[in-house]
């Protein structure tokens, strides 16, 4: 009997709080302290940190508040995150990176979810109330630019791991065909000898496309192997990030991380303002930087569309 009375009193108290909350918080459901939860895979990783910083700046400008949870800084991240979500339920969870998304998705049932910094989001099971900003540009966008820059390129080679990039590469292949480009792919699961895969692929292609695949680029050594082999076969490398220009990539189209952060914040605010905002929307990054390595371009004597130079943001010469 005592137990029932206690529960009844507790329920009354909760009801009173709910009524109060309706009066005070009906305007912006998570425009209050702790209502946006930012779950970061590892805030010391530059890409996550940069996106998070811009995301927070944009939230601040719109008078939103947030709580942060860095998985890397918690010993028992699952338990602690679970407790945090239970004790202070967020209106929206913004996840940076695959690990953060997979964990938060498991723990924050029926919460609005937003993700970014996830490699090949299509490999994830995206539930309801989930939106995101992709890590990659749209394949059509990149392929069109490549076709514009290098009209004579017909065969592009990609090495990927099935675990991380299968869906992305399949999409790439389908998108490339109407443009008259053939994407020749080879899978590599990280345990196989990448040398053998590269030496098989290089003679068949006009250009190598380096995608952000953690299963393939497993370290500095693998990356160097890729560039060395491309150099040996005199094949240009197109890379997803300008950090590879110094390694010998001829062209890169890098997504702008600050823009991704702001895009994500825009999506978050939209999801907050409109409960009927569509879910399952994954935007492609809208900002990008195109870098051309003139030194490699000249060395390989590649046919480059001179009109396309206007589109290039940064040209790197041999001196650098």
């Amino acid at each position: 009997m005592i137990g029932v009375q206690t529960i009844s009193a507790h329920l009354k108290k909760m009801y009173f709080c709910k009524v109060l909350s309706l009066f005070f918080f009906c305007g912006a459901a998570f425009a209050q302290t702790g209502k946006v939860l930012i779950v970061n895979t590892d805030n010391s990783v530059f890409r996550y940190e940069k996106i998070a910083t811009e995301f927070k700046n944009a939230l601040q400008l719109n008078a939103y508040k947030w709580t942060e949870f860095d998985l890397e800084r918690h010993i028992n991240d699952e338990e602690e995150l679970k407790r945090l979500i239970q004790e202070d339920p967020p209106g929206l969870v913004f996840c940076l990176g695959s690990e953060a998304f997979l964990l938060a998705d498991k723990l924050a049932h029926n919460k609005k979810m937003l993700f970014s910094g996830v490699i090949n989001w299509q490999r994830l099971a995206i539930g309801e109330k989930t939106n995101g900003v992709a890590n990659e540009l749209s394949p059509m966008h990149e392929l069109s630019l490549l076709h514009y820059f290098f009209p004579s390129i017909k065969n592009i080679g990609v090495v990927y791991s099935e675990s991380f990039s299968l869906e992305y590469v399949e999409n790439l292949k389908k998108t490339a065909l109407p443009l008259g480009i053939n994407v020749i792919s080879r899978s590599n699961n990280g345990q196989d000898d990448i040398n053998a895969v590269l030496t098989d692929l290089m003679p068949k292609i006009d250009m190598f496309w380096l995608i952000a695949d953690p299963g393939v680029i497993s370290g500095l050594g693998t990356m160097q192997q890729i560039f060395d082999t491309a150099k040996q076969y005199k094949k240009p490398v197109y890379a997803y990030s300008d950090v590879f220009i110094g390694q010998g990539a001829v062209l890169s189209i890098s997504v702008d991380l600050a823009t991704i952060g702001r895009q994500a914040a825009g999506l978050a605010i939209k999801m907050d303002m409109d409960d009927k905002a569509p879910s399952g929307v994954v935007q492609t990054p809208v900002g990008s930087t195109i870098t051309l390595n003139k030194c490699v371009l000249d060395m390989l004597k590649l046919k480059f569309n001179p009109d396309a130079l206007d589109s290039v943001n940064d040209i790197v010469g041999c001196g650098k």
Binding site: R47, N76, E162, Q191, G215
Partner: protein
């Protein structure tokens, strides 16, 4: 001149900070990007949407990749195994090597299961074990060697008793063309290999390997034998005659979900000392033929439910001539076959829960028994057969459940029941957990049992006044529990400490009996326990490719209250590999082995411990990544060291092992 120098220095001072700053910024950006990829790599989501966390196995395992094998300059499987914590290699009088695991060593190494691409190689049904043709397996075609220490019968069935060694060879994708290699070294050793592989667009694939190896052996001095100590005419003092020559062919053909693979090996060898108490002359000859054929298919029922099926046929034939006295030779031979199949279902219940279960069956048969004897090895006459023809049927049922109830906790529970028509059934469970209690720090615990099936020779040895078989033998049993801690405190550093305790019972041993000097029986037990400490640090940045590693085992194996003979109490391996650049690297290895005790009643001094120092130089991916070369020096300091000769050969002294030895190797890819 001075002005020129000043101007040059000024240019250097003015320009270099910018150049340096650019380089540092570029390097930092690259490292940041690699750090991001590494963070994303931590969470692997497979095509079936199942999360797999790395390092969650409950087993204690060591993996050598092809790159590791190249760096250590291994000539054969034994060279790889001797670096594994808890494993030691010693010479036997007949020629083959003993693989000591966790303080337990037997003449035939029958308590270790060796597998090739997951297929068991214990084809010798008469005497068990796999070392007959596999101890000196060439390593050029090997992609990976996985060594799991501890009992494995819950999954693999018979003979996965103390350890399972799985050798994985290069497939079509790894080869993608023609690879050849050759090696030459001390003792007139030569090795040649040719491999070809291709993955076709219609999903067909083919990989073929051919290996040839030949060596004159180390010609170890043998000071005495049972005749020479009596002043009788003898070959002693003389030298060991362990010549070894082998060739083998391996194939791996695939089309869609079907695969057909196998390996044929022919090995001819002399002997180290001989099969008896006298030093054999060059007339002792061992001749082995071994192959297996396997046809397998993977069936994908649903994304989360697959079935693996296989049928196989194993063949083993021995035809050996042994010298028992200066004027008496025996020729013994037999032929073993094992034909069977296996069905294994793999069901991923959820992202964090998977179950596998299977059924296996086989028929084992021994026939074509040959027993001849006489004075002239070329003209031997039939003698009463020493072993009987035999047929054995067996089947097994197994199940294993791998469940991650928490992100940082993996539970594994499994069991297997095997039924034999000759000795009955045996049930072997396995269970354990792996708990990451603090980020990058994990605890492991496991308990399991395993069995070693009696070999045909132990069950059915007949007409031998020295030793007789026992048809009522039961399998040997081991119960093992182990606990360990794994730590990755900083990037690149991995350390592990494991404690194990194994109780071995129903040991098949030679007991005194009335019908002969001894008969096989299940008697005696051994308790083996120890601590295995391992550490490896992989350097990053400009030193990428370099590493240092160390392992040390402290082991104590007791039978009848006494430390086992010929097994050291501790063993240490220290290795370092230094990458000078992306092509050249050097390797150094120190093996420190404790001295070993003698058997009870053996009055010889204990076998002294020793330290050996090996070095190597490796050049990889030269001339357009088509050429690898290496040169290794084993026992650089020419240390004289000995492997223990058994008490029955106490007059021999011990077996002196190889002094300084060289091996050069070149590999070409086309």
């Amino acid at each position: 001149m001075n002005n020129y120098l000043i101007a040059l220095l000024a240019i250097v001072f003015v320009l270099s900070p910018d150049v340096y700053a650019d380089n540092v910024a570029e390097k930092n950006s690259l490292e940041k990007e690699l750090a991001y990829l590494a963070a994303e790599r931590k969470m692997l989501v497979t095509a079936s949407k199942m999360e797999e966390h790395v390092d969650k196995t409950i087993a204690t395992n060591t993996v050598f990749t092809q790159d590791d094998i190249q760096h250590i300059g291994a000539r054969n499987l034994i060279d790889v195994l001797r670096l594994v914590p808890g494993i030691g290699i010693t010479q036997t009088q007949t020629g083959w090597r003993e693989i000591e695991v966790r303080g337990v060593k037997t003449f035939l190494s029958e308590k270790v299961l060796i597998m090739l691409n997951g297929h068991p190689l214990d084809h010798n049904l008469q005497n068990a074990g796999s070392i007959w043709v596999y101890d000196d397996l060439p390593v050029d075609t090997i992609k990976r060697v996985e060594v799991v220490r501890g009992p494995g019968s819950a999954l693999y069935g018979a003979n996965a008793f103390l350890a399972v060694i799985n050798i994985i060879t290069q497939n079509a994708k790894d080869l993608n063309g023609l690879h050849t290699s050759a090696g030459w070294g001390s003792f007139d050793t030569q090795q040649y290999r040719a491999s070809w592989g291709k993955h076709f667009d219609n999903s067909a694939e083919a990989a073929l390997h051919f290996n040839f190896t030949d060596t004159n052996g180390i010609n170890s001095p043998i000071k005495a034998d049972s005749l020479s100590v009596q002043g009788l005419n003898s070959n002693a003092p003389g030298k060991s005659q362990l010549t070894e020559g082998r060739y083998d062919l391996e194939w791996n053909l695939g089309y869609k979900d079907f695969k057909f693979d196998g390996r044929y090996i022919n090995k001819k060898a002399g002997t180290f000392f001989g099969a008896a108490t006298i030093l054999s002359d060059d007339k002792t000859r061992q001749d082995y033929n071994d192959y297996f054929l396997r046809l397998s298919r993977n069936w994908k029922v649903q994304d989360n439910f697959t079935i693996d099926t296989q049928v196989y046929h194993d063949f083993y034939k021995a035809d050996n001539i042994w010298q028992f006295t200066p004027s008496y030779f025996a020729r013994t031979g037999f032929q073993d076959t094992r034909t069977g199949g296996e069905v294994q279902a793999n069901y991923h219940i959820s992202d964090t829960h998977a179950v596998i279960g299977g059924f296996s069956f086989s028929k084992e048969q021994q026939g074509n028994i040959l027993d001849l004897g006489g004075k002239d090895p070329q003209h031997l006459l039939p003698v009463p057969l020493l072993t009987a023809e035999k047929i054995r049927k067996r089947w097994g049922l197994y199940i294993e459940d791998v469940w991650d109830p928490l992100k940082n906790l993996r539970l594994t529970v499994g069991a297997r029941y095997d039924r034999y028509n000759d000795f009955g059934g045996t049930f072997n469970p396995r269970m354990g957990f792996n708990w990451e209690f603090i980020k990058d720090y994990s605890l492991k615990f496991s308990y399991g049992t395993a069995y070693r099936a009696p070999a045909f020779g132990e069950l059915a040895l007949i007409n031998n006044p020295v030793l007789l078989g026992n048809p009522t033998l039961k399998p040997e049993e081991v119960k093992t529990f182990e606990a360990g801690i794994i730590a990755r405190p900083v990037m690149g550093l991995a350390a592990q400490a494991t404690y194990y305790h194994s109780a071995i019972n129903q040991i098949i041993s030679r007991d005194p009996c009335q019908a002969a000097i001894s008969c096989y029986g299940n008697s005696g037990s051994v308790v083996a326990e120890g601590i295995e400490l391992e550490m490896r640090y992989d350097f990053g940045g400009n030193l990428q490719g370099s590493y240092i590693s160390a392992n040390n085992v402290l082991q104590h194996s007791v039978q009848l209250g006494r430390q086992l003979a010929d097994v050291p109490r501790h063993r240490t391996n220290l290795t370092a590999s230094w990458a000078f650049d992306r092509t050249w690297s050097s390797f150094a290895h120190v093996l420190i082995k404790d001295g070993t005790l003698r058997d009870l009643g053996d009055t010889r001094l204990d076998v002294p411990g020793y330290a050996l120092f090996d070095v190597g130089l490796l050049g990889k991916n030269m001339f357009g990544k088509k050429v690898d070369i290496s040169f290794n020096v084993y026992n650089l300091l020419d240390k004289r060291y000995y492997d223990p000769a058994p008490s029955s050969l106490n007059f021999v002294g011990d077996y002196q092992m190889a002094g300084r030895a060289f091996f050069g190797h070149i590999s070409l890819k086309f």
